[in-house]
């Protein structure tokens, strides 16, 4: 039996065509799937099936996805959540993550992308309690980052980064040991995915490395994964 046969995914979307389509794709990828068409039903099914990952649409009748996520986190339920956002604005994605979602996917997307994100979440080491992406400040060895005030310190000395470089570092640090593609960084930090932006991400990574005294050949913080993207390699704790 494949390991994935043991994994249950809860798909929550009020659009039948999307929900049933995603369920079929996930079943084909050998996941167990349960479906809910609104937020209230989703909370019931979380209690009943204890899913391993929840795929959650934001805009739904009765109770929207953000409220579902908020309630789960309030009750100390840290089941990984992938939010399906419809709005391109970066603020929408950031607020999804602030509500406690672990990742988000912009509609429209293809099912292969969703499956890849689910697998990445499942691979992530499960640490009991509050995930680091919800922490206001993050610490990795001699590096400290305060999300709300946009400040960082290295060995206690404060450093200055441009807004975008700070966004890139915060996003990577919130996902320690996960490969984050340039497209994802561009989408999350810049709010759009113009192909001209790919190089822009590299420019900001170079800025971060320069300020942190990090190098691509012997990275202490950010590792380049050829053909894939970047990964924060230090251990990250909530500060």
């Amino acid at each position: 039996m494949d390991e994935q046969d043991e994994v249950t995914i809860l798909v929550v979307d009020d659009e039948d065509a999307i929900r049933s389509g995603l369920a079929a794709a996930l079943r084909r990828a050998r996941f167990q799937v349960v479906e809910a068409s609104n937020g209230l039903k989703a909370l019931e099914l979380v209690e009943k099936h204890r899913p391993d990952v929840i795929v959650l649409d934001i805009l739904m009748p009765e109770m929207d996805g953000r409220e579902v996520c908020r309630r789960l986190r309030q009750s100390e339920d840290w089941t990984p959540v992938i939010m399906l956002t419809q709005i391109d604005a970066t603020g929408e994605k950031i607020s999804s993550l602030e509500e406690g979602a672990d990742d988000y996917l912009n509609k429209p997307f293809d099912s292969y992308e969703l499956i890849a994100r689910i697998k990445a979440l499942l691979r992530r080491q499960v640490v009991a309690g509050r995930p680091v992406q919800l922490a206001a400040s993050l610490v990795s060895g001699r590096l400290r980052l305060e999300r709300e005030t946009h400040r960082i310190w290295l060995d206690g000395d404060e450093l200055t980064l441009t807004t975008k470089a700070f966004g890139v570092l915060a996003h990577l640090m919130s996902r320690p040991n996960m490969v984050v593609s340039r497209e994802q960084l561009l989408d999350h930090v810049w709010g759009w995915d113009d192909p001209s932006g790919m190089r822009t991400v590299d420019v900001r990574i170079a800025e971060i490395r320069r300020k942190l005294g990090d190098t691509a050949s012997e990275p202490e913080f950010i590792e380049t994964i050829a053909g894939e993207g970047y990964r924060f390699i230090g251990d990250v704790k909530a500060g």
């Binding site: 794709a25 084909r28 429209p108 099912s111 292969y112 759009w192 001209s196």
Partner: protein, 300 residues
């Protein structure tokens, strides 16, 4: 119109004053008889004063009305743009769910078929096209409101990046001013400027087959970037239209494009307080000139 009328009123007043002086000098002791006696110089002065008062007050009323019309027009344009932005957001929003369903079900169909299927690929390509179009429209609307992330931008580095991104170094002749001084960095949103220049160069490459020139100069407080191609050109009567959203030239239908690129470039440049000018001759080629002012961006 009201400005000319204003000057006319002032002119009448000046002529009246001069005329009354002249009359006083030529006919110092003459009085006119109207049942009462009056000095002709005073009469001319009073008449011209009255006339200029009427003209100047009419001017003031006309200017006040003009200003009211300008304000109303500005409000109307603003409201129209806002409405258009809201419409695009709604359209984008409403299209995303059906597009997601189509994309996911196409994946399912393809898996069911057990591999490549030309019909499925055709539908997928069209869905992608629709997706790109809605994203482009959305981005265009966002360009109006997005906060510019201004930083000093090294133009040479930026244009090198454009050439690198478009992967056609053999077709692009870069000509960047280095003497007697090199181009100073310009304050701007690096990503947006990159997007604008990439679009212009991409267009030049797409609609021509030979080499294109990418020139940059620093002249009298402005940065001038020109993208020159020897392609099919834009018909003269279409030049004012090609920067409109979704407009595509009548001679480019067989080349794929969204009709959003030049609108995007124009918006980016105008947010940098600059100007985009297109000069073209059908069958000869096109010169796209971007003019960006240094001082205004620094003082904004």
């Amino acid at each position: 119109m009201s400005r000319q009328l204003g000057w006319f009123g002032v002119g009448v007043l000046v002529i009246g004053v001069v005329l009354s002086f002249v009359i006083r000098l030529i006919l110092p002791a003459t009085l006119l008889e109207f049942g009462f006696h009056i000095d002709p110089a005073i009469l001319v002065l009073v008449i011209t004063l009255l006339l200029s008062f009427i003209i100047l007050s009419t001017t003031v009323i006309l200017r006040w009305k003009d200003r009211k019309i300008d304000v109303a027009l500005d409000e109307q344009i603003h409201a129209h743009e806002e409405e258009q932005r809201r419409f695009i957001h709604r359209l984008d929003h409403e299209l995303k769910n059906p597009l997601t369903a189509i994309q996911v079900q196409l994946d399912n169909l393809q898996e069911g078929e057990g591999g490549e299927n030309a019909a499925i690929e055709d539908v997928r390509a069209q869905a992608n096209r629709l997706n790109l179009l809605t994203r482009g429209l959305r981005r265009l609307a966002d360009l109006e409101t997005r906060t510019l992330e201004v930083e000093p931008v090294e133009l040479e580095e930026l244009l090198d990046e454009v050439v690198e991104l478009l992967q056609a170094p053999d077709r692009i002749e870069l000509d960047i001013q280095r003497l007697p001084w090199s181009i100073p960095p310009i304050e701007g949103d690096r990503e947006l400027l990159l997007m604008a220049f990439r679009n212009l160069v991409d267009n030049a490459l797409k609609y021509s087959s030979g080499s294109i020139q990418l020139r940059a100069r620093h002249t009298s407080g402005d940065l001038i970037v020109e993208v020159i191609d020897t392609g099919r050109g834009i018909p003269t009567e279409e030049l004012p239209l090609v920067t409109e959203e979704l407009y595509r030239g009548s001679n480019v239908h067989e080349v794929q494009g969204s009709g959003l690129g030049l609108s995007m470039v124009e918006r980016i440049i105008s947010r940098h307080l600059g100007r985009l000018e297109l000069r073209s001759r059908s069958g000869k080629g096109t010169i796209a000139t971007v003019q960006l002012p240094y001082e205004q961006m620094e003082n904004r």
